[in-house]
Amino acid sequence: MLAVVGAVPDPVVPVTEGVVDLSGLCMRVAGLTLSPDRGTPALLLAAATACAALSLPAPYAFLVGDEGRGHGSRALYRHLTEVLPGREFSTLVFHYLMPDVMWHDKTLFAVQDMASRPRLIADAGFMYAAKMSGQAAAYDLFTPDAGELAFLADETAPHPFYTRGFILHEENRVPDLIARAYQDENAAATLLVKGSTDYVADASGVLFTVDGPSEEAMEAMGGTGDTLTGIAAALVESGRPVPEAARIAAHANRLAGRLARPHPGSPIAALIPHIPAALASALSDHA
């Protein structure tokens, strides 16, 4: 089963876990109704929608409320260290959580104690912590955007906020930044770099690029990276090799954007209903 770990922007939500109950765009986890505006709920809804389209079981979610003070994230980290060793998941996605190296390491040790190793995907705050901890290579997939790739490529930066300018200026040289990230072991086994062109890479270099269809407005929309990671997670869960899953996900996310006909003010909820058709089309193209 695929499991997703992350925060929701309501500080009163306690640590909550359960299978996603999906009815159209209405999503519930253990009685908690989630609005897929952005962040982990957007990733979760995209993953659940893609899982349904792939005839996979609905994903499992570990959630907590955190408005940025970190209390919720740390409660969820603590919960994960307690329960993960006794659970079985085939794919684990870590998303919006307060980047905290100590809790990252404890969580990774808890994964180590699971009966079988899940494939590990990290994005957002947890990806920052994975890089800061020096354990990026333990992951199967990171899904950074161009700015976050520059952070991974800058071996000195402890957060994207401190990425050095000469590296940020190299955004148009994504392959060089990818090589630099691998050189210092600050990348997962596979990278899916989100941008005007999406790049799928591993330590050997760029494997695939995906640049169409192109909807310029998606760059401004909050949540398009979250839906991409969610679709990729479902495809990884389906058993496809991670680079292939990332390539198909990049294409499917773009197709969903094309079908949604967005403008820069569009919410991500406008894109998600198009994921099943987009995924079918992308799978057909890559068959």
Binding site: V8, P158, Y162, T163, E216, E219
Partner: protein, 184 residues
């Protein structure tokens, strides 16, 4: 090689990894350091007084080590306690500077400003914030919910309601957008 072999090989002990998410707050004098440490401990932050590296010493040979990502929340708390730091720096790279580079993209009816890993988009005709994207700290979805739908004039500053470095970066984008949208 499996995940855990690899992980064990690079066991996360105290060295670089444990320092990578820490910041240093520098102060005018030792008495301010002690006050700041007291204020932050009382608020529940994991902080301690340490000696700053020589390259950033300002005369005071103590600094407060704090969780780097929570810089915005900590700065606001210290300012409220009238013990504002002279500077806040990453422990592992005290000479690193915050990103000052803004990228602006004009979509015609909409304008987007990116600062570090955060993007803010407004509708030009109304100044209304229509999207917030990027970032990975948990205050990003919270800030987006508070900002979207409001005009730049109505919206709270992310610097006032954010808590993390992502919130700080969004605050920079917000200020740059406000500057760009102000009548010259």
């Amino acid at each position: 090689m499996g995940l855990l072999d690899r992980f064990r090989k690079k066991n996360p002990g105290p060295p670089a990894g444990s320092q990578a998410d820490r910041g240093l707050a520098l102060f005018e004098n030792t008495s301010e350091v002690i006050r700041a440490e007291t204020v932050l401990r009382a608020a529940g932050f994991a902080v301690r007084a340490v000696g700053p590296p020589p390259e950033v010493r300002t005369g005071c040979d103590l600094a407060v080590e704090y969780p780097l990502v929570e810089a915005l929340n900590i700065r606001r708390l210290l300012e409220a306690a009238k013990v504002a730091p002279l500077d806040m720096l990453p422990v592992t790279g005290p000479l690193l500077q915050p990103v000052e580079l803004f990228q602006v993209k004009d979509f015609g009816d909409h304008l987007m400003v990116r600062a570090a890993n955060m993007k803010l988009t407004v509708e030009k005709a109304t100044g209304r914030i229509v999207n917030v994207s990027g970032g990975g700290c948990p205050d990003v979805p919270y800030l987006a919910a508070r900002l979207i739908g409001k005009t730049l004039a109505e919206a709270p500053s992310p610097r006032d309601i954010g808590h993390t470095l992502c919130g700080y970066a969004l605050g920079l984008a917000f200020e740059e957008m406000t500057r760009l949208c102000s009548p010259s």
